[in-house]
Symmetry: C3
Subunit: 459 residues, 3 copies
Amino acid sequence: MTMPSSNAGEAMYDLVEELFPVCRSITGEGLRWTLRRIGEEIPLVVHEIPTGTEVFDWVVPEEWNIRDAYVRNARGEKVIDFARSNLHVLNYSVPVRRTMPLEELRPHLHTVPEHPDWIPYRTSYYRESWGFCLTHNQLEGLEDGDYEVRIDSTLEPGSLSYGECVVPGETDEEVLISCHSCHPSLANDNLSGIAVAVALAKHLGDLESRRYTYRFLFIPGTIGSITWLARNREATQRIRHGLVLSCLGDAGSSTYKRSRRGDALIDRAVEHVLRHSDEDSEIEDFIPYGYDERQYCSPGFDLPVGCLMRTPNGRYPQYHTSADDLDLVRPDALADSLAKCRAVVEILENDEVFLNQNQYCEPQLGKRGLYRGMGGNAELPGFEMALLWLLNLSDGRNGLFDIAERAGLPFRVILQAAEALRSVDLLHPAEREATVRAERLDSPVHGSDDSAVCSAIMG
Amino acid sequence: MTMPSSNAGEAMYDLVEELFPVCRSITGEGLRWTLRRIGEEIPLVVHEIPTGTEVFDWVVPEEWNIRDAYVRNARGEKVIDFARSNLHVLNYSVPVRRTMPLEELRPHLHTVPEHPDWIPYRTSYYRESWGFCLTHNQLEGLEDGDYEVRIDSTLEPGSLSYGECVVPGETDEEVLISCHSCHPSLANDNLSGIAVAVALAKHLGDLESRRYTYRFLFIPGTIGSITWLARNREATQRIRHGLVLSCLGDAGSSTYKRSRRGDALIDRAVEHVLRHSDEDSEIEDFIPYGYDERQYCSPGFDLPVGCLMRTPNGRYPQYHTSADDLDLVRPDALADSLAKCRAVVEILENDEVFLNQNQYCEPQLGKRGLYRGMGGNAELPGFEMALLWLLNLSDGRNGLFDIAERAGLPFRVILQAAEALRSVDLLHPAEREATVRAERLDSPVHGSDDSAVCSAIMG
Amino acid sequence: MTMPSSNAGEAMYDLVEELFPVCRSITGEGLRWTLRRIGEEIPLVVHEIPTGTEVFDWVVPEEWNIRDAYVRNARGEKVIDFARSNLHVLNYSVPVRRTMPLEELRPHLHTVPEHPDWIPYRTSYYRESWGFCLTHNQLEGLEDGDYEVRIDSTLEPGSLSYGECVVPGETDEEVLISCHSCHPSLANDNLSGIAVAVALAKHLGDLESRRYTYRFLFIPGTIGSITWLARNREATQRIRHGLVLSCLGDAGSSTYKRSRRGDALIDRAVEHVLRHSDEDSEIEDFIPYGYDERQYCSPGFDLPVGCLMRTPNGRYPQYHTSADDLDLVRPDALADSLAKCRAVVEILENDEVFLNQNQYCEPQLGKRGLYRGMGGNAELPGFEMALLWLLNLSDGRNGLFDIAERAGLPFRVILQAAEALRSVDLLHPAEREATVRAERLDSPVHGSDDSAVCSAIMG
């Protein structure tokens, strides 16, 4: 496995930049256009689920589209203009074409008083409403008088769109990667997640082979994962590990929110990668608030799905405002997030139980060229420690990942050492071993004093 | 459940004040009078166990009563006088009527040299002895010469008294509340425990109904609990939770000493209440020294009984001295102790397993009026978090208390949220659910593709 | 059990001093002489295993002996001389008799540049080589020119020697004590371990009786333990506890490295002893690098064998240099190490499950003379707390060591209190109890209302 190329960050940033201006929502043409654009990068099947479809306790809503929106003052000046920022309209606003005094308009105006230059992002998907979001400075500048209010939107039967990309593996056991793709012009939340997911899918497609089948979902938040789960209830039983990807482009350190189970392999693997990457990464327990892990971890499913972020939702001031823009996201942060995802995948793909073929005392590594010749030095390099840990713990109860954890060494070092030991026949995969042993037990010449297990293990 | 009224502390303090002057011991008229006085507050059955009764390894001792005691110097002045403080006599002193020189008297005199103004409290229940306790200053002032020593006490066959108040509940499963009631003029240890127990019993009696039956014991320390256990060995099998109450009136923060089991529900419930009440409460592991929890937690019984205190026995300088007086005990501290007891009872009474009726993905709370309409805000109030935690964890394996603990929210918030979810039929009690499910399984029209469990859960 | 006598440290130091000058290796006359000398202190069987013997993955090497070695400069001066320090020769150097220029000699010279006055200790047991170790100052002083190089050694078929001392006990369950005995003039590593092992064996031999059989191994590192394990594979099944002893004479605090299992009784017992002895002792998890515990803890054996040290290998600057000399080792440190070994043995020998004969409430200790008569004091001495803990926890599930751990009291205090309770018949050994109970169950008069268990327990 190679590291992401130095321009991987730039390529992801370019995709974020290209997707940024579009007004997306949980349904509609902006979302559909985004999925088409992702489909130019990776093979994507786009599903359209009709309005009114029942998905568990929910119903797919009407489709929302918007062409224009503005508020014009008495002098005919557009004081709020959707054309300048698509955050200016409360997402899912019903059509409006009226003139009204400021007092009547004011309850429909949303600002962030603490950051008077920023436009907030607000939505009202499931209760009919309309509104405008603006900077607090804009609000303070509004004079009394009548305003022409125009929202040229439609809310009509249509469909909900989501994209699915499957990278097939040797087995039908699956790894789920999910990212919400419904936000309008917000760069970190979650164009960053989309860009990292696309790059990860490309990387997986480039691998010679994969143990797992990887399923990438590009979905509108909440209703999208609920819809997918409702339509794929049986399929969820094949999911062995999963990650929700979001907010992966800011300069903050990485944060991992555990799955509801808390000790699934995905939880332990991400924690391992973060621990060996950064001094200041954060691990947080599952809470039933956040992104689509809420649905994947609902008790009926309880899937081993965690959430990888940098600064979590709600903990950076720019969150859900116009300041979550192209300046907040950085190519190097995207590249680092991708590298961590790839390191997690490396663990999932390569964690395996091996059996030490020489379990009684250490084998003599020197005669196999795996150990320095000169004795007496106090320190042992990490690679040689990895050899010793693998031999000591490969008793059939520990996989490579368990060993990396107990040894306190990065998984990659353990993996390389395991390959060295396999090359000199000191480690065999446990399943192959089981087969070899079964064959020996069948053999009529088998008659050692030792137990069958010992004779198989000792080779 | 309402909070203790603002004058609950005053009422408890008044009882402490009234009981304070009386000379109590592990038997005798002072104890008997105290039980009668408690019986004016709450329904109390007073038991009299005759001297000589065998109770496990012990025997109920002779009854001790005292009328007067003093030491008079050569000038006829009473230099130590029981009439001034009943602590002046070694509790359980045999009768004495002699004149002796100071050298002979001195081994019978007990002081606290570090606090020369305080009279210590000393006892000799199980070995015949006599003595006086006095301030160190008093001792230093004694001149050589003869002293008239008089202890007008009786130690004769009689009985040991204890009081029992039962507040019946819907089941015969019991909660045991025990407080030692044998100390003479010591306010915090343990008139404070008596006063809180009385107030708690009144509060429980005022409730419309109770799941548990509550048994309050007002007993002499050690011999009283041993006697009760010996006479109620079978009944102990109904005890599900228990608390020893002592030293609950001083200004210190709360301390909870765990039961021998260490992880019983009572342990976890008290810890929860203290954690959500105070920053500086203390939780301590069980040790086989302290109050009557020593007997309840002896290995043959091993009852889930912990001990709630403020500053523990032996850790405040006034402990077992005349300085444990009416100034040490404070109405607000008594009220706070009572509030904590009531919060613990609230958990015991209301902890229950519910089943989320919509386990596959989150239900749409908005359409049920349980969720704000506007999306995009970063923070979620505690009540809405409680709703999400209840839905996420009510899978049949977690009760309300487990959920409160994992959510890090006060039990009361979880309880209120559970009531909201029950009102919209999203939570059912697990047992009722089991019944509903059994009925459906019997129904001939039952034929879903889903497993019976899923169909029952999903409703 | 008595403490080591005040001159135990001196006696151990004397042995270290006597063994120090000899040039040892993993085979040869120096090792053989050392074993003979140990055999004068304690009964020792010396085993000789011929060169070429296969021991698991290894082969017993040729025997190495050395008479002399030096490097002479052009002026005929010995600039490096084995006669001054046996560390000067790379251990296991093949014979050499040549003259060569400095450039050719230099790759065969080893120094410690950070400590220019110290000679390093280097070995090459399993790859034919030769070399000299010298101070860095010596190296710097070497002039260009030709040097006469002479190593008068032999590497020929012979045998590997190790010593075994068995101190028999009442059972054939064994405690293994192992120390490497192959290093030349290095005092702490590991003449200190040899000296403590010898003193411990003497102490055990002096005991009236022992529960366990103790097996002491004096072996060359790595190949010695592998050889012993290969020849005693069945016998290892009798090993219940074990310790590798090394580096026990320096002034540092004690360090214990846990067995691979991590929670074996030996691990808990050594931790207990260190916790109650020192403020600054260190407990470390097992790693598969270090001393012969690597072999005892290889997965095929996985024996409960930890390693007791003071400053661990590689963590003191003098490690594996000429500065690990007689000044580094101190009699008081040796005595302290021995005392800790004896305290560990005391736990292993005396840990036992007792049954409290009075499990329902506390027994009345006062009437048995085990409790002070005067009540009211706040503090309880450790011995009386030990009595209460023993009574509270001796329910058949806890041995003396478990009780000492939960009580936070030294094992010795618990042991003394247990003896006091046995003397008044309040504790019975659990097995004897089981026998008594079986007899009662057979008895036709057995007919109590209580369950059989209770009646047996209550006596």
